[in-house]
Symmetry: C2
């Protein structure tokens, strides 16, 4: 960023090193920092370092956790009969925000991607199979992404979970709410028709 | 953010306190921090605090500066005959990025806004008038924003700079490059016609 001080340039390049942050966003964030009070910036810096120092993965479900277990696995009000399998901790956050699901989770910390050399041993599948085998789940809901890797992972899991004689479901695929049918891609439209329900 | 740890929630709320950062962006940034290495996060935290500790305003032009003078006022290659007046340091950054202007700047650190009680004494106008009076500028380019406050400020400055018998110009207003005429608002279209040039 020409015309700006050395310390601002340094801040912009530190922001740019974060995953998914480009030049424009980094510059915008640097100006946000500049406009904030010194106390705000110090509190933010502390919170950032604190997160990196304290956060680990839940021993049961691999969700993010400050302690041994995540807040969900610690919560006695959750329904241990329903297990939702997701790829990432941010998926847990999204589902919790949507509300409606009151069971527990299993976070795979990735998805199967043979092309990238990610096989079943590279993500948390063994723990899931063991957990389902020894647990008393009524239903395992496969909520991996709807992309190639997520679909592959769901198919793989469905196949290997069958031996546990548990009900296995996959989240519905179809038109996103509020979207227009004419703008939907072919694959989504096909799924929307396949998965149609009687009213 | 439900389903997420206490330390992540704390980080999200710190991000949300930054000006212009909403919940979605704060959550996205918190996950970026989480995905980054400890070293990256520490370097970022240091750079943030360093910016707040070192940055002040240039004694000549009010641009951001790590030292007494900003990098532009320190640069002997800049053309001291041309003075560009802007509202904020981020405007300097934008103009420098676009390239093409090789003169020096004066940053007002705001714009006149009678409705918000911001008068000529609340922004860096006195210093500008003095600088133009005693300096040897060929031209003063008024590059305040094209909104009501920016226009008001430009008109005010034009009136008060006239006594210095310097050439005063205003940046062109019209259709943004790459835009479609049919989507332009009426005010912009009117300006585009007013400011038309013979080819």
């Amino acid at each position: 960023m020409a015309g700006i001080t050395v310390s601002m340039e340094a801040l912009v390049s530190e922001f740019k090193r974060l995953p998914g942050i480009g030049t424009k966003t980094a510059e915008r964030l640097a100006f946000f920092i500049l406009q904030s009070s010194k106390e705000q910036v110090q509190a933010l810096a502390r919170a950032m370092i604190h997160v990196k120092e304290t956060i680990g993965f839940c021993k049961i479900c691999n969700n993010l956790a400050d302690e041994k277990l995540c807040t969900i696995c610690q919560d006695p009000r959750r329904d241990n009969g329903f297990l939702c399998v997701v790829e990432h901790p941010r998926d847990v956050a999204a589902i919790e925000k949507a509300g409606g699901f009151h069971g527990v989770y299993h976070v795979l910390l990735g998805s199967l991607s043979p092309l990238d050399g990610v096989g079943p041993k590279d993500i948390k599948i063994a723990g899931l199979l063991e957990r389902v085998r020894t647990g008393r789940f009524h239903e395992v809901i496969l909520a991996t992404d709807s992309d190639t890797e997520g679909e592959t992972t769901a198919l793989y899991l469905a196949k290997h979970l069958k031996v546990s004689h548990v009900k296995i479901t996959r989240v519905a695929q179809g038109l996103p709410m509020g979207s227009h049918l004419e703008y939907a891609d072919q694959a989504t439209l096909a799924r929307a028709f396949e998965g149609r329900r009687e009213l």
